[in-house]
């Protein structure tokens, strides 16, 4: 097994954990966290791909991931702003009709 393949498989595992957490938890901040971990897993996959030929490195995926990191932080900031507004207006941190506090 090469180093590239090892980290690719790690990325697949990380993606799996993230997609499970994204679907199973209803708290929106947890969903945003899970999306970020998913993004990280995909970045890791791309960087591992860039190293498939262990004698050289492909700079194109590197540039793509650099762009991706900035896009991810922009999207996260916007998602968090939406969440804060939702919480301020309705007191909720989830996207369903159940009141957060009545369930406690």
């Amino acid at each position: 097994m090469t180093q590239s393949l090892f980290f690719s498989l790690t990325a697949a595992g990380l993606f799996g954990i993230a997609i499970y957490s994204f679907l199973v938890y209803e708290h929106l901040l947890r969903k945003i966290l899970a999306l970020n971990v998913m993004g990280n897993a995909i970045f890791l996959l791309l960087i591992a791909f860039a190293r498939r030929d262990s004698t050289t490195v492909d700079p194109v995926p590197h540039a793509m991931v650099l762009t991706g990191i900035v896009i991810a932080v922009s999207a996260t900031a916007f998602a968090l702003a939406l969440l804060q507004r939702l919480h301020r207006e309705s007191g909720k941190t989830r996207l369903d009709n159940v009141d957060d506090e009545s369930q406690q």
């Binding site: 180093q3 393949l5 090892f6 980290f7 690719s8 790690t10 697949a12 595992g13 990380l14 993606f15 799996g16 954990i17 997609i19 499970y20 957490s21 679907l23 199973v24 938890y25 708290h27 901040l29 947890r30 945003i32 966290l33 899970a34 970020n36 971990v37 990280n40 970045f43 890791l44 960087i47 190293r51 030929d53 050289t56 490195v57 700079p59 194109v60 590197h62 540039a63 793509m64 991931v65 650099l66 762009t67 990191i69 900035v70 922009s74 996260t76 900031a77 916007f78 968090l80 702003a81 804060q84 507004r85 919480h87 301020r88 007191g91 941190t93 957060d100 506090e101 369930q103 406690q104």
Partner: protein, 320 residues
């Protein structure tokens, strides 16, 4: 052999940290785990010979995203203090039957991706060799910067626009009547230690930012990394009360925000007068134009990231 031990530890560490981040009972702890995960990811990328990306991840992925998440967490606690503090942090979950089904689904996804990875055919086009063979034409000697700002400059131009768009989105969503809460505690404002630390770090961060910007043409570094380091400086000033949020943006601040996208777009269009296509820099001018674009982008990225963290339209200096 020792390489394998190190890689194995890194990979296992990533999976364990990912699990902790996403399953941890306490949301605050989850966020801290996430930042640690980002830093470990940085190490992986250094191992995979991607120092440019590692620098950006450490500063933006782990640093700025962590600050954003903590800010949001704090806002959820403060905005409307819940009757039960646990309702903000509790792990509301689907029913157990659903959870088991979703776990099975996730396992299938991982299995499918792994199978695809193990049976991946060789790449049809070797872009790496193509980039290296034409590196001399790009005006810089760092391959990643060459791709980012010359060969695929279009992506970067749009990315800078997306960053600006995200800030506009945050501004739109923020309630108009909001009185921006002071981010800093009295401790941070009055402590002589914080002041002394800032005096020490401020020149250092500006120096590191400028260095990263300059060195990006030859070695790992560049506009994003430099912008993130400068943004860290701004976030520090904001958290310690040296910059306070204002409800409106001043004209000069708006100018700084569009400086990067503006310079980039102007240069992208201007080169067409030399007979090239959009973003096709003339060979002799390429290094100079790339440096100009990077400088503009650095400034705009830094200002935008600080405003994304503060969530306010503007910031003003407060004198201690």
């Amino acid at each position: 052999m020792s390489d394998w031990v190190f890689d194995g530890l890194l990979g296992t560490g990533l999976l364990l940290l990912g699990w902790q981040t996403l399953i941890s009972r306490d949301l605050f702890r989850s966020i801290i785990w996430f930042v640690v995960l980002g830093l470990l990811m940085t190490l992986c990328w250094v191992r995979l010979a991607a120092p440019d990306v590692a620098l950006a991840e450490a500063a933006i992925g782990a640093g700025v995203t962590g600050a954003l998440l903590l800010n949001a967490y704090r806002a959820l606690l403060i905005d409307k203090p819940p009757r039960h503090p646990s309702s903000v942090v509790a792990r509301h979950r689907q029913t157990t039957a659903w959870a088991v089904g979703l776990a099975a689904f996730s396992t299938i996804v991982v299995g499918g991706i792994s199978w695809a990875l193990l049976n991946l055919p060789q790449a049809g086009v070797d872009l790496g060799t193509l980039v290296r063979s034409r590196l001399a034409e790009s005006g810089v000697s760092n391959v990643v910067t060459a791709v980012l700002l010359n060969f695929r400059g279009y992506d970067t131009l749009l990315e800078v626009a997306v960053l600006l768009l995200a800030l506009l989105g945050v501004w739109t969503v923020h309630p108009k009547d909001e009185t921006f809460s002071e981010a800093s505690s009295d401790f941070a404002q009055n402590s002589p230690l914080v002041g002394a630390l800032l005096h020490l770090l401020a020149p250092l961060l500006v120096l590191i930012g400028a260095y990263l910007l300059w060195i990006g043409a030859y070695a790992p570094g560049g506009a994003f990394q430099a912008g993130a380091v400068l943004a860290a400086f701004g976030v520090m000033l904001y958290l310690s009360g040296r910059l306070t949020p204002t409800p409106t943006a001043t004209f000069s601040l708006k100018l700084l925000l569009i400086f990067g996208p503006g310079v980039f777009s102007l240069i992208a269009l201007a080169v067409m007068f030399w007979g090239g296509a959009l973003l096709e820099y003339p060979k002799d001018w390429a290094s100079l134009l790339i440096l100009a674009v990077e400088t503009g982008v650095t400034i705009s990225i830094a200002v935008t990231l600080v405003l994304l963290v503060s969530g306010s339209p503007g910031l003003k200096r407060t004198y201690q």
